[in-house]
C-alpha cells in the first residue's frame, strides 16, 4: 500500500501528470516529456541529446489550454500538401513519415489579470474623407477633371485618468515566444478551455523560461496595449498613437495557458529538421529541403552518360570516313552526349539554390 502511494507521487510529480523534465544539450531548452520516455530529438531544434534533468518551474499546473482544432486526419492532409512540389525530395520528407513522428507539443503563455489605475495621454485619430482632384490636359482635347475622395485621419490630443480591471492579458512565458509566434502565427485565445490531465497526455510541454518577475515587461506591455485600446474606444476614435500610461498595477493574478502545436521531424543527410504545425490554424513552420545527395548522383550519372555518348559519337563520326552513314549517327550521338554533359550540373545547382532559398 505504502509502495503504491510512493509510486503515485512519483508519477504525478509534475503538474499532477506523468511528466518528467528533459533538457536539450544542443539548444538548452527544457521540456516536459511523458515519464519513462526518452526523447530522441529535441522537438524544438531537432537536435540532441535530450536527457532528464531538473527544471525550475512553478508547481501548480497550467490553468487553461487552447484545444487542438486540427485533428490528426487534418494534420496528415496539411503535411501532404506541405511536402508536395519538392524536386529530389529526401526519403524521409513524406507525409506518412512526418505523421508517424508527429506528437503534441504545448507552448506555455502567461495570462495576467490586474487592476490598472493611472493617468494617460495619447493622440486619437478620427477618420474623415476629403475631396481632391486629378486633372488631365491633352492638346486639342483640353482639360478633363476627376474628383478623388481620399480617406484621411484627423489627430487630436487627449488626456485622462483610468481605473480599469483587465483579464487575461497575454505575456510571453518563453524567451523565443515572439520568434515562435512569427513562425506559427497567432492563436485565438478566446477558444481556451480549462486544463485537464488528458490535454497533456502523451504530449511534450515546453518548460517556461520566464517566471513572473522576468515576464513582467511583457505583461506590462500587454496591459498597456489593452488600456490603450480602451482609451481609444472611450474617445470614440478610430485610431490611437503615442499612448503613454503612468499607472499602478494591483491585484495581479498570473495564470498559465498552453498553446497547441504539433511537432515532428525528418532527417536528411545526417541532419535533423524539425517541423512545427500550429494546432489551431494548421500553419506549418519548417524547412523544406531537397536532397543534395540525390541531386548530385543524378548530375553525376547524367555527366558520365553524356561524356560516354560524346566519345562514342566522336568515334562513330571518325568511322564515317570509311562508312559514311556512321558519320550521321555519330554526329547525332555526339550532339546528344554534349547536351547531356552540359545539362548534367542542373539538378545539383537547382537543388543547391532551392535549399538556399528554403533555409
Amino acid at each position: 500500500m505504502g509502495t503504491e502511494k510512493q509510486k503515485k507521487a512519483e508519477i504525478t510529480g509534475v503538474w499532477g501528470a506523468p511528466l518528467q523534465a528533459m533538457h536539450c544539450a544542443h539548444c538548452g531548452e527544457a521540456h516536459l516529456a511523458p515519464k519513462g520516455e526518452s526523447l530522441s530529438q529535441c522537438p524544438l531544434c531537432g537536435q540532441g541529446p535530450v536527457t532528464p534533468q531538473l527544471a525550475f518551474m512553478r508547481k501548480e499546473p497550467p490553468e487553461q489550454i487552447v484545444p487542438y482544432a486540427i485533428s490528426e486526419e487534418k494534420l496528415a492532409g496539411i503535411l501532404e500538401r506541405w511536402t508536395r512540389g519538392i524536386w529530389f525530395r529526401p526519403a524521409e520528407l513524406k507525409a506518412s513519415t512526418l505523421m508517424k513522428r508527429a506528437r503534441r507539443y504545448l507552448i506555455p503563455l502567461w495570462l495576467v489579470d490586474g487592476q490598472v489605475t493611472g493617468a494617460w495621454r495619447a493622440d486619437v485619430g478620427f477618420d474623415y474623407q476629403a475631396v481632391s482632384y486629378q486633372d488631365r490636359y491633352r492638346e486639342g482635347a483640353g482639360w478633363s477633371s476627376r474628383e478623388v475622395t481620399e480617406g484621411r485621419v484627423r489627430w487630436e490630443p487627449r488626456v485622462g485618468r483610468l481605473g480599469r480591471s483587465y483579464e487575461n492579458a497575454a505575456a510571453p512565458a518563453l524567451d523565443d515566444h515572439r520568434a515562435l509566434m512569427g513562425r506559427l502565427g497567432d492563436f485565438d485565445l478566446e477558444q481556451r478551455a480549462d486544463y485537464s490531465l488528458e490535454a497533456v497526455a502523451g504530449g511534450v510541454v515546453r518548460v517556461p523560461s520566464l517566471d513572473h518577475e522576468t515576464a513582467w515587461p511583457g505583461a506590462h506591455a500587454a496591459l498597456v496595449r489593452a488600456a490603450g485600446e480602451e482609451c481609444r474606444q472611450a474617445a470614440g476614435a478610430d485610431h490611437i498613437r503615442n499612448f503613454t500610461l503612468e499607472a499602478e498595477y494591483d491585484d495581479l493574478n498570473w495564470t498559465m495557458l498552453l498553446l497547441p502545436v504539433y511537432a515532428t521531424w525528418y532527417r536528411d543527410e545526417e541532419h535533423t529538421w524539425p517541423v512545427l504545425v500550429n494546432g489551431q490554424n494548421g500553419r506549418v513552420s519548417g524547412v523544406r529541403r531537397a536532397s543534395t545527395r540525390k541531386a548530385n548522383i543524378t548530375s553525376f550519372i547524367l555527366g558520365v552518360v553524356g561524356v560516354l555518348m560524346f566519345l562514342l559519337g566522336g568515334l562513330l563520326a571518325l568511322m564515317g570516313a570509311v562508312l559514311p552513314p556512321l558519320a550521321v549517327l555519330g554526329g547525332v550521338i555526339l550532339v546528344v552526349g554534349l547536351l547531356l554533359a552540359v545539362s548534367a550540373p542542373i539538378p545539383a545547382i537547382g537543388v543547391w539554390m532551392f535549399n538556399r532559398r528554403s533555409t
Partner: protein, 430 residues
C-alpha cells in the same frame, strides 16, 4: 507591483483641456476646449460713457467718438498662419447652405427695434438709435465664417484726400474733376475673399523641338537654314501655390478691383467682430465650390505654364499633362475696401480704394475732345510727311525717303493712338 509608478507628469491635464464624455466606464477623458462660438450679437459700447464705439482705422482699435475712450482688440496678427480648412465632404455639403436665413434680421438691443438688414449685410447701424450691432457668426458652428481679415488702415479722411488726388491726375480727364470734393456714399466695406492653397504635381509629356542650323549649297552659294529636331520628352513639375485669391462676391466691379489689389496678406489678423464695428461687411455670394472651380482653373493654367517652361524649348507639340492636386486648403477672409461714387455732369462714377494700401481705382470721365486732339497730333506727322514724300516722289526720286519715314511715323502714331484710346476707354469702364 515591480515598476509601477504613481501618476506624476501626466496629471493634471494641460491648461485648456476640458472634460469630454467617455464611452467607457472607468476612463476619464479630457480634450482641448473647443473654440467658443459667439452665439449672441455683440454690442460695442464705450466702457466710460456708454456710447457706441467703432473700429478706428487711424488708431487701430475700438474708439468712442463721444469721449475719446478706446479699447484694444484681442485678436492677434496671424498673417498666412490664419486657419485653413481642407475640402472635407462635410465642408462641401455645408458650403451649399451659405449663411442661413436668420441672418437677415437684426434686433437692436438698445432700442428694441428689429432692423431689417440687407440679406448680404453682416453689420448694420440701427436706423432708430444709431447703435452699432455686429452680427457674430453663430449658426450651427458655421465653418464658413471668416477666419481672418485685414483691418482697415486707411481712414475716411485720408480716402477723401487720396481720391481727390487721384481725380486730379491725368491729362485726358476734364480739369473740373480737380474740384470734385463731395464723395457720395463713401463706405468702408469688408469684401469677402476665398484663398486657396494646393500643391500640384504635374507630369508632362510632349514632343519638344530643338533648333539647329544647317548649311547647304544652292545656286552657287552657301546658305543656312534652321531645322527643328523633334523628340518625345517628359518631366515632372512641383508647384506649391499659396493663398490664391478669389473674390467672394459678384457685386463689385472685377475691373476696378483688379486695379486696387494686391493686399498684403502677411498682415492678416484673426477674425474678431470688433474689427467690423462701425463698418460694413459683405456676405459672400460666390460659393466655396464655385470659387474653387475658378481658382482651380487658374492654378492648372499656372501648372501648364510651368510644364511648358520645364520643357526648356519654345517648340512644343502634342503636349499632354496630368496635374495631381494635393493638400488643397481654403480659407474665407475679409479684405478692406472703400466704395464710393461721385457725380459729374449728371452722371455717377464709381471709385474703389484699397483700405490697407490706399491704392485708388475707379471710373473717371474722359475729355474726349482732348483725346481726339492728341490722337490727331500723333497721326499728323506721319500722314504729313508721307503726303509730302508722295508729292516729291512725283517730282523726283528724293521723295522716297520722305514716304518711308512718313510711313514709319504713321505706324508709330497709330500704335500710340490706339494705346491712348484704350486707356481713355478703360477710364470710364466699370
Amino acid at each position: 507591483m515591480n515598476d509601477a509608478t504613481r501618476p506624476t507628469t501626466l496629471w493634471p491635464p494641460p491648461e485648456g483641456f476640458v472634460p469630454v464624455p467617455s464611452l467607457v466606464e472607468g476612463i476619464e477623458l479630457y480634450a482641448p476646449a473647443p473654440e467658443e462660438e459667439e452665439k449672441e450679437t455683440r454690442t460695442f459700447k464705450c466702457r466710460h460713457c456708454g456710447g457706441t464705439i467703432a473700429y478706428s482705422a487711424e488708431q487701430r482699435q475700438l474708439t468712442c467718438p463721444y469721449c475719446g475712450g478706446s479699447q484694444a482688440i484681442a485678436a492677434e496678427e496671424v498673417g498666412q498662419r490664419a486657419a485653413e480648412f481642407e475640402f472635407t465632404l462635410e465642408t462641401m455639403a455645408r458650403a451649399q447652405y451659405g449663411w442661413g436665413e436668420e441672418r437677415r434680421e437684426l434686433a437692436c438691443a438698445s432700442c428694441g427695434s428689429v432692423v431689417a438688414v440687407a440679406p448680404d449685410a453682416l453689420t448694420s447701424r440701427c436706423a432708430f438709435c444709431g447703435s452699432n450691432r455686429v452680427h457674430a457668426r453663430d449658426v450651427t458652428g458655421d465653418l464658413l465664417r471668416p477666419t481672418a481679415l485685414l483691418p482697415f488702415v486707411v481712414d475716411q479722411e485720408r480716402v477723401q484726400a487720396l481720391v481727390a488726388d487721384w481725380l486730379g491726375r491725368g491729362w485726358m480727364h476734364p480739369p473740373e474733376l480737380r474740384n470734385v470734393r463731395a464723395l457720395q456714399e463713401l463706405a468702408g466695406v469688408y469684401l469677402p475673399f476665398w484663398t486657396f492653397d494646393a500643391h500640384i504635381v504635374a507630369d508632362w509629356k510632349a514632343e519638344v523641338g530643338t533648333e539647329r542650323t544647317k548649311q547647304y549649297y544652292e545656286d552657287g552659294e552657301w546658305k543656312t537654314r534652321t531645322i527643328i529636331d523633334w523628340n518625345w520628352r517628359s518631366g515632372r513639375v512641383h508647384l506649391p501655390i499659396d493663398d490664391h485669391l478669389v473674390v467672394g462676391t459678384a457685386h463689385v466691379s472685377r475691373v476696378i478691383l483688379s486695379k486696387v489689389v494686391p493686399f498684403e496678406l502677411s498682415k492678416l489678423a484673426e477674425y474678431d467682430p470688433g474689427y467690423l464695428a462701425g463698418w460694413q461687411a459683405k456676405v459672400y455670394d460666390v460659393q466655396l465650390q464655385d470659387a474653387w472651380e475658378v481658382a482651380k482653373e487658374e492654378m492648372r493654367g499656372r501648372a501648364k505654364n510651368a510644364c511648358h517652361r520645364d520643357t526648356g524649348s519654345s517648340h512644343v507639340r502634342n503636349f499632354r499633362m496630368q496635374a495631381d492636386f494635393a493638400d488643397e486648403r481654403w480659407r474665407h477672409i475679409l479684405l478692406p475696401v472703400y466704395l464710393a461714387s461721385y457725380p459729374f455732369e449728371g452722371r455717377t462714377f464709381q471709385v474703389m480704394v484699397n483700405g490697407q494700401t490706399g491704392s485708388v481705382a475707379g471710373q473717371k470721365p474722359v475729355a474726349w475732345p482732348k483725346v481726339w486732339l492728341v490722337i490727331a497730333a500723333m497721326l499728323a506727322p506721319g500722314a504729313g510727311l508721307g503726303l509730302l514724300g508722295l508729292l516729291t516722289l512725283a517730282l523726283g526720286g528724293i521723295g522716297l525717303i520722305g514716304l518711308v519715314l512718313g510711313f514709319i511715323l504713321l505706324v508709330a502714331g497709330l500704335i500710340g493712338s490706339i494705346l491712348v484710346f484704350q486707356k481713355a476707354r478703360a477710364s470710364e469702364e466699370v
